[in-house]
């Protein structure tokens, strides 16, 4: 039977990375098709490059996907990842290959881990540098929450994926497999001797691509007079309007240079290769994590004289075809006097179809840990003066076995209380709480009276959809899972009636992003009863976003927070009244509690700096 493979191109603004992966994945697709696979290459909304032929562009489908209060472009990888899950879950492939960077496979992996969908689909990450490494090397400027969201999603994706493929993978790193893009021989440029006329630094302006080391060494060589009569070219997209490595910095440093230089914005591998094939060119690949495997391989195959830093991921593969030098490029000038194309590279040629078949077989044979033991569950609802909404919420429970329901009323009118009496039954218990009690207090009271192993919390104006309650409870068959949240279907009118306005997606394990906004989940969620007690219930002080604080405590204690991608809950959104609720707009109070939960300690200076760096909304 033909196996189906899905290859996923990255989202985001890094056009160099996007061009490299688009070209590399196109070659993988060719090899897989030659090996009998049915292959589909997906570009998600927001792809930053010209796409090769036969790529399926995934449009945003309805309902629209939202991801919390951050600006939409900052959570692009989360929203695009959920869009990808929608597509994959509707038509599951046998295997998926997607970039690690941005963590776009996280929603699909979360869903598979919960047993919700994609159970037979193997998932492999392309192990490029993640957000933390990119930021460390100056590749990402800390100007938004994008990087922390990406880091959290990458971290979960790495943990949940079947394998991570890297050209420089070694046996001592578990979960990694050694793979490079398929090699394609190019017509060779005639070998030539003679003087280097142009030294080309290949790649964008970032430490990850070695641009800083290159600048340092050419400035030294310029002082020594070695560059007289030669041109230094920076070939790749250089950033504008940014601090650090970028065009502004290049121009400022160049004021002291006495050699010719230029910079060429180009990312397309074919155009980059055209430039490098010109006579007298020495190509320099100084990066440690450079996203340039395709360009480097083509360059060597074409016989372009090249220098590769020894920390480059492909260095061990290209040895003999290029000059390998130290990362500080100290010996760069030794390669100027004789530009000689070296011998063709002798790449290992990975058998992608065989690797993919093995990954699929391993996935199918791996045991899925599930406890079939029936668990009791308690639904905890807080209520005040909305008997019709409460009746709808109760009706949405479906026929979940072993379920008891606790409703805590916090001061309804007498007429409402009469209506509530009609809703009481053997499995629905109504408790009178203090009139006007805060929601966390009422929830804690409900939990106190609940006897189930699993506690499910629901606001009385929301309801379950598509067997949502049963799906929330079923997720706990996996003994590793402590908390289950869900994508919310947002309704601007009565929940569950008509089409939703949008789906609001969450990360579950939000990592450090959870420090900045509630990316964990919503107040409607399920948790093991013993874990709830361990965390210390809901904070009962006057906290607006008590759910955010609760999840932060759970995260700090290492609890597993999983997300159902398919919405389990219809959520009534009060779009027009939101501005009147000042407590919803005040992020400072909840953040103090969240910080305490993360146990960060003295934080005022850190938060002031973060607020400045991340352009967070300033609340006066």
């Amino acid at each position: 039977m033909t196996s189906k493979a899905a290859l996923v191109l990255p989202v985001g603004a890094d056009e160099w990375r996007a061009a490299n992966l688009a070209a590399g994945f196109a070659r993988v697709a060719e090899d897989l098709a030659g090996g009998g696979f049915e292959v589909e290459v997906f570009a998600l909304p927001g792809a930053a490059t010209e796409l090769p032929a036969r790529v399926t562009t995934l449009a945003w489908s309805d309902p629209p996907i939202l991801a919390g209060p951050a600006a939409a472009h900052l959570s692009l990888s989360l929203r695009a990842g959920h869009q990808l899950w929608r597509r994959l879950a509707a038509n599951p492939p046998d295997i998926v290959l997607a970039p690690l960077g941005g963590g776009i496979l996280q929603p699909a992996l979360m869903s598979r881990d919960l047993g919700e969908s994609l159970g037979d689909t193997a998932m492999v990450l392309w192990g490029e540098a993640g957000a933390a490494r990119r930021m460390e090397l100056g590749d990402i400027e800390p100007v938004g929450v994008e990087a922390v969201i990406a880091e959290a999603m990458e971290s979960a994706a790495r943990r949940l994926a079947d394998a991570t493929a890297r050209p420089d993978a070694s046996a001592d790193r578990p979960g990694e497999i050694r793979l490079a893009f398929p090699f394609r021989p190019s017509p060779r440029t005639a070998s030539r001797g003679g003087r280097t006329q142009e030294i080309v630094c290949v790649g964008p302006a970032s430490g990850r691509h070695g641009a800083d080391a290159f600048l340092t060494v050419i400035e030294r060589l310029g002082h020594e007079g070695v560059l007289t009569g030669r041109t230094v070219t920076f070939l790749g997209p250089w950033r504008e309007g940014t601090a650090g490595l970028g065009k502004a910095m290049l121009g400022r440093r160049a004021r002291d240079w006495r050699f010719a230089f230029t910079q060429v914005d180009e990312s397309r591998p074919g155009k980059v290769l055209d430039h490098l094939r010109r006579p007298g060119v020495l190509a320099v690949f100084p990066g440690a994590a450079a996203d340039d495997e395709v360009i480097l391989a083509d360059c060597l195959s074409a016989g372009v004289a090249s220098v590769v830093a020894s920390h480059h991921p492909m260095a061990s593969w290209v040895s003999g075809a290029a000059s390998i030098i130290d990362p500080d490029l100290a010996d760069l000038a030794d390669h100027f006097d004789s530009v000689v194309a070296q011998r063709p590279p002798a790449f290992e040629t990975p058998d992608w179809p065989e690797v993919f078949e093995s990954a699929i077989a391993a996935r199918r044979s791996s045991p899925v840990v599930r406890t079939r033991q029936t668990r009791s569950a308690s639904l905890c609802i807080t209520h005040r003066d909305r008997p019709d909404a409460l009746a709808a919420a109760l009706a949405s429970r479906g026929g979940t076995a072993g379920l008891t329901t606790i409703v805590v009323d916090t001061g309804s009118e007498t007429a409402t209380l009469d209506a509530l009496g009609a809703l009481e039954s053997d499995d629905v218990r109504i408790i009178q709480g203090s009139p006007g009690a805060r929601q966390p207090w009422a929830r804690n009271l409900a939990a106190e009276h609940a006897g189930g192993d699993i506690l499910i919390f629901l606001d009385d104006d929301n309801l379950f959809i598509d067997d949502g309650l049963a799906r929330l409870v079923a997720a706990f068959e996996d003994p590793r899972i402590d908390i289950v949240v869900s994508t919310l279907s947002l309704f601007d009118g009565a929940p569950g009636q008509g089409l939703p306005a949008a789906d609001l997606v969450f990360m579950g394990e939000a990592g450090w992003a959870g420090l900045l906004y509630n990316g964990f989940g919503d107040a409607n969620f399920a948790i093991r009863r013993d874990r709830f007690a361990e965390i210390g219930c809901f904070a009962d002080d006057d906290v607006a976003a008590f759910d955010w604080v609760f999840f932060a405590k759970a995260q700090a204690r290492g609890l597993t927070i999983a997300v159902l991608q398919k919405p389990a809950i219809a959520y009534r959104r009060d779009l027009f009244g939101r501005d009147a609720k000042w407590r919803k707009r005040d992020l400072e109070g909840p953040r103090r509690h969240v910080l305490r939960a993360y146990e960060i300690g003295q934080t005022s200076k850190i938060i002031a700096a973060l607020g400045q760096c991340l352009s967070l909304p300033f609340v006066e």
Binding site: L250, G251, R252, R255, F261, A609
Partner: protein, 218 residues
């Protein structure tokens, strides 16, 4: 970044030093420093005429401040222009606690469209100056030698005032050719409109005069 206002290190306001540089390269920049408490970064508030406000901490390193004696130099601030709505129309910079304005505040956008000069194959365009800014900024490009970064000198009479190499990057503007790395900033002893006798811009390699600027030239 230039240490504009560095001489104001000697002119404190409320015991504090600072200079608001306004908008440079699409960022809002400046610095502030309290000599009595050199380790403590100060907070400033940026405000626009439309009512937008933004408070930021002056805790970014600037080598020019360090060189000018501002403790360890970690007293600059610089935020993207886009963060403050309507900043193009003018920005005021205040110390957040006292509400007093920093020297250099308010900043208002330069007016006018600048001027272009031609000398042989060399095209020189000068930007309209920032009010009170003792610098000339612009773009110079040799059509016959596209990779040549011209060395410029400013001359008053027989005295050379300053020199620079035109290699700064700026987003390409109408009529400006080359690879974008032909921008320059040329320091003057005072704002152009205050310079008696004008100033001459010269190609330092050939000695050719590229432009002569009087007090009202820009």
């Amino acid at each position: 970044m230039y240490a504009s206002g560095a001489s104001d290190l000697e002119r404190p306001i409320d015991g504090r030093l600072g200079w608001f540089e306004g908008v440079r390269d699409d960022r809002i920049c400046g610095w502030t420093y309290d000599p009595a408490r050199p380790g403590r970064p100060l907070e400033v508030t940026l405000a626009t005429a439309s009512g937008a406000r933004r408070s930021i901490l002056a805790d970014r390193f600037r080598a020019d401040l360090q060189a000018a004696g501002a403790c360890d130099g970690w007293h600059g601030f610089s935020i993207p222009l886009a963060v403050l709505p309507d900043a193009e129309g003018g920005v005021e910079c205040l110390w957040s606690d006292s509400g007093r304005a920093l020297s250099g505040s308010p900043w208002s956008a330069p007016r006018g469209s600048g001027r272009a000069f031609r000398a042989g194959s060399v095209m020189l365009s000068l930007d309209p100056p920032n009010p009170g800014d003792p610098r000339l900024t612009g773009y110079v490009h040799d059509r016959h030698e596209p990779l040549r970064r011209l060395r410029l000198r400013a001359r008053r009479g027989d005295d050379f005032v300053s020199s620079t190499t035109a290699s700064l990057h700026r987003g390409r503007r109408r009529g400006e050719a080359g690879d974008g790395f032909h921008g320059f900033i040329l320091a003057l002893p005072a704002p152009l409109r205050m310079l008696e006798g004008g100033v001459e811009i010269v190609d330092a390699d050939s000695g050719r005069r590229l432009a002569w600027l009087g007090a009202r030239s820009l």
